[in-house]
Structures are given as structure tokens and as C-alpha cells.
Amino acid sequence: MQWATGPAVPVISVIVALLLGAVFVAATGNDPIAAYAALARGAFGTPYDITETLVSAIPLVLTGLSVAVAFRTGLFNIGAEGQLLVGALAAGAVGARFAELPGPLLMPLVILAGILAGAGYGAIAGVLKAARGVNEVITTIMLNYIVVFVMHWLLQSGPMTAPSALGTPASARIGDGAILPVILPNELVPLSRLHAGILLAALAVAVFWFLLWRTSLGYELRAVGLGARAAAQAGIDPARRMALVMAIAGAFAGLAGMIQVSGVFQRVFDGFSSGYGFDAIAVALLGKNSPLGIVAAALLFGAFAHGGAIMQSNAGISSHLVSIIQALVLFVIAAEAIVRGIAGRSRRGRKPVEAIA
């Protein structure tokens, strides 16, 4: 089983997806090599592009952790998108309401608001799962819709509507104390938007690792994920762990929303997230739910996101190509699991179970 958890399989998946993507490019009468060269140049060509790729990757790291921590407990969190939005709304509301507070007071408040709101929203699905056995896939999808529409109301004609013409329904700007500073001096990388959220993301990755592999709670979560009934036999209450892990998943996603507000946009607006919570599912799968894997996958998808636009302007290839490649990555990963599943069944499940500890 060890071979399957190493980087080999994801790397091969990406390579296969890129090769298949090349077929699409060629089919539209363009040069695949030029396309990928432009994509890579767009994502990493200048220091500015590298920082933009990082800015794109930050929310994907956190939502990836959100999906992964639920995966590890045997749950499928499709709700990272909604949890991110709730976190963003809470952070945006607190950041604007207490805009006058000094940074050392306001910043922790805003961070806490984002994390707690996301955790609370995630916990709804978790509690429903634990108490009534409601499938978390269904509830998290539905909760996504609820927050999207509540957000329309809040921003268009509700209490968070800002009386300004920013061009889109939006909340008021957060106070200066709530803004995550840009961490690279302008002399080093002019115009860089790379903000301190990257440090929060790094911290979150460390927390994810420590929680799952260095605490007894993490041990229990993973035990539930590998086999809820076996875990119950060992004295772990799977229902309570599932409720808890959805709150933890929501906390990671809520932090992502908070970081987008404080680091990038300084406010919440309609169309705030472009599906970070959905891309996160691919990030978690590609990253094999491991801390470093998620970081690598998020960087790859961040590079796609930023590089894709540049590829379009410089090589004339639609930036939708990167969506195709992302979908292909998922397909290849799913196909790999099928192949492995068939192989596993032929051996009548006598495969050694992945070590928990």
C-alpha cells in the first residue's frame, strides 16, 4: 500500500492529464507545447507571477485541508464552499463593524470570527450526520445554496449592504486593523499582493498535521475514517467524532474565507468565491489528504488559475483549457482508484490495512 500513498500516483495522474489536455489543445488547432510553455511562464515567469500563483493557492490550501480532514474521518465535505463564504461574511461583518479598533485587537477578532462561523456552519452537517444519520454529502451541498442566497440578501438589500457604487453588491470596507499586510516590500516585487495569509495557511497545515498524527483525537478521527464499526468496538464514539470533524473542517474553510477578505478584497461581495470549495475536493484527492500533498496540489491549481489567464493573452489559447486539465486530473485519479479497487477485490480484501499510528 505504501506505493499508493507516495507522490508517484498523483504525479503520474497530473502528467497523464496534461497529455490528454494536449490532445484537446491540438484538436483546436493549437500547439500544445506552446500552450504549456505559456501556462508555465504565466504562472512562474516573473516574481510577480509567482506571488500571484501563491495568492491563488492560499485559499485552496485551506479548503483542501477542510475537505481532507473530513475525508480522513470517512466523511465527504462538499460544503467547504459554503463554509468559506460564511467565514468570509463573519470576518467582513466584524472587520467593518469594529473598523475603528486597533489592529492587535481587531485582527484576532476577525480571525476568530471567520474560524468560528465556518466551524458552526460545518457543525450543522456534522450534527445532523451524528444525530440522525443524514448523509453529509446532501446536507453540505444544500447548505452551500443557503449561504449563497443569504449572502445575496445581506449584500444587496440587507444589513451588510454598503452604500457605495463599487460595481457589485458588496459590504463595507473592513478597518485597516483587519487587513493582512502584504509581506513582500514593493521594491522587491513591485505590485505584489502576497499577504500574510500565507503564514496563516502554513500554520493551518501544521495544525492539520499535528491534530491528525500527534493527538489522540486525531488518532480517533482516523480510526473512524478507516472503519467506524471497528472504532466503535475500540470504545470510540464515531457519531461524536463525525460531528466534531465537520466543525473542524468548517473552521479551515472559514479561515480561508477570512483570509480572502482580509488579505485580498477587504470586503465581501457577490461572486466572492469562484468555487474554491469545489476545487478543494480535487486538491484534497490529488494531495492524497496529506499535508504536503495538499500544499503541492494547491500550488499546482493556483498556477493553473493564474497561468491560465496569461496563457490566453500570450498564446491565444482559451483559459478554459485549465478547467479541462483540472477535470482530467480528477478523472485520472478516479480511474486509478478503480484499477486499484479491481485489483484489491481479486485478492479478496486480504490487503494489509494502512497503519493507523
Binding site: T28, G74, G167, S313, G341
Partner: protein, 352 residues
Amino acid sequence: MKRLLAVPILAALTVSACGGTGSGGAQATGGAGTAPAAKAVRIGLVTDVGGLNDKSFNTLANLGRQDAEKDLKVETKVTESKQQADYVPNLTSYAQQGYDLVISVGFLMANSTWKVAKQFPNVKFAIVDGAPADDAGKTENLPNVANLFFAQQEAGYLVGVIAAEMAKAKVGKATNNTVCSMGGIPIPPVDTFIAGYQHALQTISPTTKILNGYSNDFVDQQKGKEVGLRHIDQGCDILFQVAGGSGLGYIQAAKEKGKYAIGVDADQADVAPGVVITSALKRVNKAVYDSIKSVKENTFKSGDTFFNAANEGIGLGKLDPVVPASAKAAADKALADIKSGAIKPKTDIAVK
């Protein structure tokens, strides 16, 4: 093992179900091939999240770019923004490469354009439908930015005349004397269209029931369709949409239920022949073309420029054969009156 199998497959399915808003499409950017050797004028166009295939606003802007490339021998490139977070990096990318003119397509890019234009005072910018706006949302004219505005209410008024005449005379399938509209989100470039439309309806056919709604989206056709079906349930038989890609769903609803629709920005007669009775034309292509021309000919002017009926910036699209001659005559007269100033279409929505 079953779970191991199920999860990734489910993931693949769900992702495609939840996230599938991308409308694939290749577009030709002639730039690289046709560029003359020395010091060509270089133009970069950045679309908003509606994308190049919205068959309205962005499509038209791109058309203006392509026409300019052909006629004016300038080198042009285009970038589609997939999310609002892309606006700043997409604009910055062209500015950093020293393009002569960077065009932002859309009101939604007002703040991003302000940010980038301030950083690059030596690059010229043009923004369609807006003016640079600072972080607080306050408009600030910049010496290197041209603000391209349209009198949307005039175009809305013209299609409103057609709708009012048809509702009043109960022409064809328009038997309920109920006329509707749908915007993407309630922002001025959208609402002014609808304001002019409602003004014409209330002036010409005061008994007509008017409904208005929003899809809260400029991309998702499904959301537009839902609003359309709801409007049709409430008796609407003429549906006017100002919602980019989302509006195509509104037209789709009219098509499925056998009602009439009115197109916007571009001439959308081809979207659903026999359903789209006319379109409120907003010639974004003209605005883009003219601004490129001004840079090429060194006549670039910052600040506000208005495109209206008088300078052919707006107009009425092709009329479906179902539209009676009397309605056409009324619209022609309204156009003349708008040009002469005898009619001043309202810019505030009457029925929200």
C-alpha cells in the same frame, strides 16, 4: 474497499455537477501572426466574468477589438477573467508588458481599473460602462483612463415601445397584457436599461402589468431560466433580459413556454429565432473600436465619453416578422424623438 472506490468517483461527479459553469470555447487571437515588425500599437482587452461567449457585452467588446485589429493594423490580445479576483492580475499583466491601451470590459472592474491605472500612469486605460472607483467606491477620474458610458435607458425605451405596442394590441402570443424584465444584478448599467423599458411601457400602455426580477448572476443560465419560468407563471408573455450569459436562460424559458423575449447588447435574434422579437442594442464594439482608434491616432481623451442614440451608440435590433408595422413605426418615431431630445427616457426603475 467500496468506500475507497466510491469516494473519488463521487468526487468527480459532484465536482462536475457543482462547478460546471465554464462554457468551453476557443477564440482566435490573431495578434501574434499579424503583428508588424516595428512599434505596433498594442491593445489588451480584459473581459469580466461573463466570458467571451456571453453573446452580449463581452462578445461585442471582442468584436470591436477584432475589427480594430483588421482595420487599424494594431496588435491586440484578449484575456478572459474567470473570477473577480482575476481582474487586477489580468489588467496588471498587460500594463506591465507596456501595452499602449488596456481595456476593461465592465462596470464590475471599476475598482480594479482604478488600482492598476494608478500604478501605471504611462499606460492608457479604457473602461466600458464605468469610471475608475477607489476602494471606498468613490469615482475618481484619472488622466490616463477613458470612461465609456452608454445611454442604456434609450435602448431600453426603444424595446419598451415594441413590447408596449404588442401587449396593448395583444399581438400573437402576447395575450396576457403582462410584460417582464430580468436584470443580472441591480447595478446602474443594468437598471438603466430596465428603467427606460418600464418608462416606455407606462407611457404607451399604462394598463400593462409590469414585473421585474434579478438572476443575481451574469453567467449561470439556469438561474436566469428559473426567474423566467417564475415570470411566465405570473402571466408574462414578453420577457426582456439584461443579464449577460444568465439572460440566455431567461430567453430559453420564453422559448420553452412559447413566449416572446427581447435581447440585449448584441442583436440576439439568432439566439432563438421566432422567440426573440428584437434586441436593445448597446454597441460596445463601437466604443471599444473608437477608443482603440483614438490611441492609434493620438486623440485619446480621458474622462467620460457618452454613447447614445444620437451618435449610434445604442439602437434597436432586427425585428421579428411577428412585430406589427405599427409598432415599428412607433419605435422609429421614438428613436427620432430621443435623438431630438423630445423624449428623455428615465434612468430610475419604476417597478422594482
